[in-house]
């Protein structure tokens, strides 16, 4: 180890309305593996985008020194030219091109615009061997698994003479075996003198590969710890990740007293779902949970824990391949093989991605609200437009949707108001069970409070509410009970009294031991 290879000093990055990074300092030593961890939204990915030139010089404040020189990258090519290569969570491979073509994409071995295939294949084979792949370089990327694709990305990075390799949650989409292989490769590359930054939620991974870890929270550097030091325990890292002040941001809630003799409004038993494409992978693994009327039950988990996949597969099998399990409503087993069936049984799912899965952005507020329950404003298949408009006007006022009329297209509303439209739509459908997936994502504090109030009212009306969120304070502030998920499995259940950020985070980062 010979001093720092990378120094990022006082980095500030602002997006319209949001300060993503408010003061981040990061120092990476030559030849180490440096982990970065933090909650969703702590600013990890933004920091790496600043470093790699995705956010070009001039759009952020602060200073970047690489190998002692001040760097002002104007795009990714500029940072790659210096040997800094980032591998994003979503892989950037072209599925129908070969491994060799992908490795040298944008960087072809060519003479006067024509590719020299012999040269390309020879070099590709060498690079693939270095990352431990024996596949032929002419194999199509689409024909190999995600784990191998991740390795191809690294081979691609090696072809660019990488000095600093950045991996953004590289194992999030991998199974245990592939994760293990990848981590071994990182250690192997370290021996060859390649410095790496790895963003990860999984504390056992960090312990396995990293030399030091920097913790980010709310866009600030909290601390940098030596992973090998005795005092660096998982608890220490967790408290660094979550230790923020709790403000009074939630409506007063009297905890719900469950009536034990009553059957739960919704019960899921042994629910297992496979990934839609990679069918070996269990995205949801033997999950059982229950929600009573009047209760708000949280599901905590980090990205890739399988929360959304669980919710969507229960809601009319809208995700993945069903591989077992039953759903019970008020104690009787129900069929929820399609969305209309789930809706008929009084289940509603409010998506985390309202723009793609929740709203028809080009249509009006009124028509979006009525869509999932048109029958309620129709007679014999004919919609009564006046009644529909009256219903929409009612929601506009009661939910405080800020728009001049209900004829406004939803696409023109702010995030918070769009979220109120999605909620209105499902409240109008009159469900008994509401599954809310990240209902406050991307909206400001004021609108959040309004949405919390609505959720509270729904529970008070006797509805069963499932509240999925990445923000622990929000779950602690709102829920009667909280389940934790990690890697597709339920890892814990906490009552309101038992739950704390630390206890939840410990279960959320619990993963099977990485195979060695």
């Amino acid at each position: 180890m010979a001093g720092p290879v990378l120094e990022m000093r006082s980095i500030v990055k602002t997006f319209p309305g949001v300060k993503a990074l408010s003061d981040v300092t990061l120092t990476v030593q030559q030849g180490e593996v440096h982990a970065i961890c933090g909650e969703n939204g702590a600013g990890k990915s933004t920091l790496m985008k600043v470093l790699s030139g995705v956010h070009p010089h001039g759009t952020y404040e602060g200073e970047i020194l690489f190998e002692g020189d001040v760097c002002e990258f104007k795009d990714i090519r500029a940072s790659e030219h210096h040997g800094i290569v980032i591998i994003h969570q979503e892989l950037a491979l072209v599925p129908y091109l070969s491994l060799a073509e992908n490795i040298f994409l944008g960087n072809e071995h060519a003479a006067r615009g024509f590719i020299n295939w012999n040269d390309t294949l020879k070099h590709a084979s060498e690079l693939l061997r270095r990352v431990g792949l024996s596949d032929h370089p002419e194999t199509r990327v689409a024909d190999i698994g995600v784990g191998k694709q991740q390795l191809v990305e690294i081979a691609k990075a090696l072809s660019k003479k990488v000095k600093l390799l950045i991996l953004d949650e590289p194992t999030a989409a991998l199974n245990d075996e592939d994760s293990g292989k990848l981590l071994d490769l990182i250690l192997e590359l370290k021996k060859q003198g390649i410095t790496a930054i790895i963003i990860s939620h999984k504390l056992n991974e960090i312990r396995k590969v990293a030399d030091s870890v920097t913790i980010l929270r709310d866009g600030r550097t909290i601390e940098t710890l030596d992973v090998k030091a005795a005092e660096t325990t998982e608890d220490r890292i967790i408290s660094g990740m979550v230790g923020r002040d709790l403000e009074n941001r939630f409506p007063e809630r009297s905890p719900h007293e469950p009536e034990e003799d009553q059957a739960p409004a919704l019960e899921v038993r042994n629910w297992t779902v496979h990934h839609p494409i990679d069918q070996q992978r269990k995205v949801v693994d033997d999950v059982s949970l229950q929600v009573r009327r009047g209760e708000i039950v949280g599901i905590a988990g980090l990205m890739g824990a399988g929360r959304t996949e669980l919710a969507m597969s229960v809601f009319g099998r809208s995700y993945g391949r069903y591989a077992g399990g039953t759903v019970l409503k008020d104690g009787t087993e129900i069929r929820t093989k399609s969305v209309p069936e789930a809706v008929k049984h009084g289940i509603a799912y409010v998506t985390e991605d309202r723009k793609h899965y929740g709203l028809n952005l080009i249509d009006t507020i009124g028509r979006n609200i009525s869509l999932s329950a048109l029958g309620k404003v129709a007679k014999r298949g004919v919609v009564d437009e006046h009644e529909e408009r009256q219903v929409a006007e009612g929601f506009r006022k009661s939910m405080n949707i800020k728009a001049p009329t209900v004829f406004e297209p939803v696409g023109k509303l702010s995030g918070g108001n769009q979220q109120k439209v999605v909620l209105s739509k499902w409240i109008f459908a009159g469900p008994d069970v509401l599954i809310l997936d990240e209902p406050t994502r991307g909206i400001d504090v004021g609108a959040k409070y309004e949405i919390y109030t609505v959720i509270d009212q729904l529970a008070a009306q006797g509805k069963a509410v499932v509240f999925i969120s990445s923000e622990l304070p929000e779950l602690l502030g709102m829920c009667d009970r909280i389940y934790t998920m990690a890697a597709g499995r339920l890892t814990g259940e906490f009552s309101r009294a038992e739950a704390s950020q630390e206890s939840l985070m410990r279960q959320m980062t619990k993963d099977k031991e990485v195979t060695r």
Partner: protein, 414 residues
């Protein structure tokens, strides 16, 4: 957005009676309503402009009663197709097979009626069923097997064209029974005393006016019953006057020649019927929803596959109807019938406000788009512009209409 929770929403205007609007705000309200439906008002305005242009250019020939009748008859089959095509495009698909299907059904009809002497009403029903079956077959492949509509209907375009030629053995078959010819070519029968006008057409026009006015009044009353805001009385009156004037003009033009063509009546029923379905029926809403955002529609419990299937089934049936009207009008089924009809219908839909990505458009828009093309055709014929230049001009009009739409959307920033 504001985080100030205590901010009061502006007090809603008192519902119901809004007659106190000043002239200034009346204009403002009108403009506001127009801005919301920019595309349709824009096209209506363009249509008006084109009509005036050609009326002046042809020294008024364009608006001669005989020519207006002709215009309706010439364009009826394209307009029928445009209605169905609009639904397909709103649902986020395309149908390239309708021109060939039109020819195919015409050929089947000719073989049934001419070669086998099957009575025309029975043959008509059989033809509609065949069209519906063809549409259903394509719809099944698209909706349930997930083959892209462009591919399925491109295959359909080739297949049905080929089948037409096989069926007709390269010949032209005719003439059709007189009854069917009448449906496509003739006018409502004349009744009552000689008034220099076509009495039944006048009566029909009057009936339409009464119906429209009553409907509008009833609608307004219902809105007030639901305590919803209604436009001020002056604006409402203005709208009524404009509607009545439009219906009256067309009625008088038609009545001073031979009266309303029967095809116009059929077309009118289709427009009102499909317009109502798209606006008010649950299935209509579902068509908009799957075209606007398919994943969101699915997660809202819309049976997207069934809806898509029905849209294509309907398109097939309308193509069959258009095929019979076309064949009967020319009194023959020919292997080359219906060439490029699909493109005309698609162009009419896009001129009339449809969007490539689906979810947008109205039945009335498709009709306006179709009439724009029809008037252009007819007007350019009257002033003696060759078909070569006609195509160039129609192409540019399509480009301008959609270009305006794109520009307008970017300006609004949605």
């Amino acid at each position: 957005m504001s985080t100030d929770l205590t901010a009061k929403t502006p007090a809603p205007a008192p519902p119901g009676k809004g007659g106190s609007a000043t002239g200034d705000s009346l204009l403002h309200l009108m403009l506001d309503g127009m801005r919301r439906n920019m595309r349709q008002y824009g096209m209506l305005f363009a249509l008006g402009l084109i009509v005036v242009l050609f009326a002046v250019w042809t020294n008024g020939d364009l608006l001669l009663p005989r020519n207006v009748s002709n215009l309706v008859l010439q364009n009826s089959y394209i307009l029928i197709l445009a209605i169905g095509m609009m639904l397909v495009i709103i649902a986020g698909h395309i149908d390239l097979s309708v021109g060939s299907l039109t020819a195919f059904v015409g050929a089947v009809g000719a073989v049934l009626m001419v070669n086998h002497d099957i009575p025309w009403p029975i043959a008509l029903v059989m033809c509609l069923a065949i069209g519906a079956a063809a549409g259903a077959a394509q719809g099944f492949l698209i909706a349930y097997l997930g083959i892209p509509s462009f591919i399925v209907t491109l295959a359909g375009m080739l297949t049905f064209r080929g089948l037409t030629e096989i069926f007709l053995e390269g010949q032209t078959i005719g003439p059709f029974p007189e009854g069917l010819q009448k449906v496509a070519n003739s006018f409502l029968p004349e009744v009552g005393p000689d008034t220099n006008y076509h009495n039944l057409t006048l009566l029909l026009g009057l009936a339409v006016i009464v119906f429209v006015v009553l409907q509008e009044l009833r609608d307004r009353k219902r809105q007030q019953e639901f305590a919803l805001e209604v436009p001020p009385a002056k604006l409402f009156a203005l709208k009524l006057v404009a509607l009545v004037a439009a219906v009256l003009t067309v009625t008088m033009l038609l009545a001073s020649y031979k009266g309303a063509p029967i095809v116009l009546l059929i077309l009118g029923i289709l427009v009102v019927g499909f317009g109502y379905i798209m606006r008010n029926a649950i299935i209509g809403r579902h068509i908009y929803a799957i075209g606007g955002n398919l994943p969101a529609a699915k997660l809202s419990g819309v049976k997207d596959k069934k809806v898509t299937f029905l849209v294509f089934l309907n398109m097939g049936m309308l193509a069959a109807l258009a095929g019979l009207v076309f064949a009967a009008r020319f009194n023959a089924a020919s292997p080359k019938a219906g060439l490029n009809f699909e493109l005309e219908a698609i162009a009419a839909s896009f001129i009339g406000g449809a969007s490539m990505s689906g979810g947008v458009g109205t039945v009335l828009g498709a009709i306006i788009g179709g009439v724009v093309l029809g008037v252009l055709n007819n007007g350019m014929n009257l002033v003696g512009i060759g078909t070569d230049w006609q195509q160039v001009i129609k192409g540019l009009v399509l480009l301008a209409a959609v270009g305006f739409d794109v520009w307008n959307k970017r300006k609004v920033g949605s």
